[in-house]
Symmetry: C2
Subunit: 283 residues, 2 copies
Amino acid sequence: MKNLELASQNKVFGGWLKQYTHESTSLNCTMRFAIFLPSTASSAQPVPSVYWLSGLTCTDENFSQKAGAFRVAETLGIALIMPDTSPRGEGVADDENYDLGQGAGFYLNATQAPWNAHYRMYDYVVKELPGIVEAHFPVSAVKSIFGHSMGGHGALTIGLKHPDMYRSVSAFSPISHPMNCPWGQKAFAAYLGNNKDDWRLYDACELLKLGKAELPMLVDQGDADNFLNEQLKPEALKAAAALHDSPLELRMQAGYDHSYYFIASFIEDHLHFHARYLFAEQR
Amino acid sequence: MKNLELASQNKVFGGWLKQYTHESTSLNCTMRFAIFLPSTASSAQPVPSVYWLSGLTCTDENFSQKAGAFRVAETLGIALIMPDTSPRGEGVADDENYDLGQGAGFYLNATQAPWNAHYRMYDYVVKELPGIVEAHFPVSAVKSIFGHSMGGHGALTIGLKHPDMYRSVSAFSPISHPMNCPWGQKAFAAYLGNNKDDWRLYDACELLKLGKAELPMLVDQGDADNFLNEQLKPEALKAAAALHDSPLELRMQAGYDHSYYFIASFIEDHLHFHARYLFAEQR
């Protein structure tokens, strides 16, 4: 990381939302992320954080503008970190469709050309971004992770692989079993190649099959979501969690769709869920 | 009004956000508006409403997506009505700048060509839209009005002229004295011509000079708003209200800017302010 520069700032609910740009070493391009800092955050009293991973086509801004999360985060004294969804820029490989390339990084490390030159969102989210945040802001190393759709997939897979790093994980409408749906199959084939063993490392259901999850999981899914049956498959996640009695609460929410209106309706629940673990004594 | 058609719907916080299109008789074009109906609204128990008037460049969607108002409206049992900010369409006069023409109707009835063929947002908001809403939805005639920037100007002027129709009025960062700022002067000259007497009917400060306002007013203004000194002039509003002891509460909010992050931070206050009057016994 270098050249961390403030791009914008807005006071909101007494705290501050700030966008920064920086040169990412893991992604090899200029990236933008946003951070919400509650008014209580100070170098003397760093606050815990929750990382939000967004869905297809999003930037850091969709969540900031639409989720209504800052009121609750201010009340709880939690920082929120919003990365972008892929590497960006003219020199970064892209695809004409919304579900591959820029805006569709799938929170993995690509191994296949041309994607492997920049697409390492897994390293960015797990290593580089926490390093930046904890070095430059009054944010402690205590953190959790959540996301929506493609970002729900990212949060679940990253949380399941790093129960040492994250206290809890939650998701709205996650792509629960990407190996078994069109979005995931297309992205994994492009980014990872055709060896399905490489795909399993980025599939929440496959990770749950390996053993009991070591961190609590909350998933909300609207039953009026247009992508429910073809792309999201929460029943597969539930079945995989049941195999080893992993701590998953899956809530089907009647009448809700895939939009940020759904996210906004339950964001308070998710932040309170994470707060329970973020503010617990060290496990 | 004819051809009222549902364009979209999202469940949010237990209520429903619905967008409709219709042929507007006052604007002579197809218009879209949105309505939030709390879960308690029914034809047996119609709910009161608050109209939200948006600022320059907005459609009905900015408030719905960014203000975080629906949680509070659901709790209070209040409907929210979100009109567009101008007539729209290929046959509607426009200007290449953001502060005139489509997206910049200024909630007035234009008298000058080419604008007078469609630009009658005052009639639309005061007469046509309430007629549609109260005829087709479980919404009572009890209503209040609020808005942001250009929409704050609209809410204040419409409320001041119709204390019989609205119980209360509030605004975020309103254009308080349009006759005396660049945005207002440009729009009023184009839409109304050069006779300043015609301008006074659409200027909140001028209306307050006429006598004591008959409805309560709440105004929030961020002191880090880039438009504060040149365009918004809340001190003029305060002075005009003081002339006849009109019931204005003006709150300067330290550190806040002109964005929806500011609106979101205080929307709960505004809805509780309106609820106090909407649910009071008839005055």
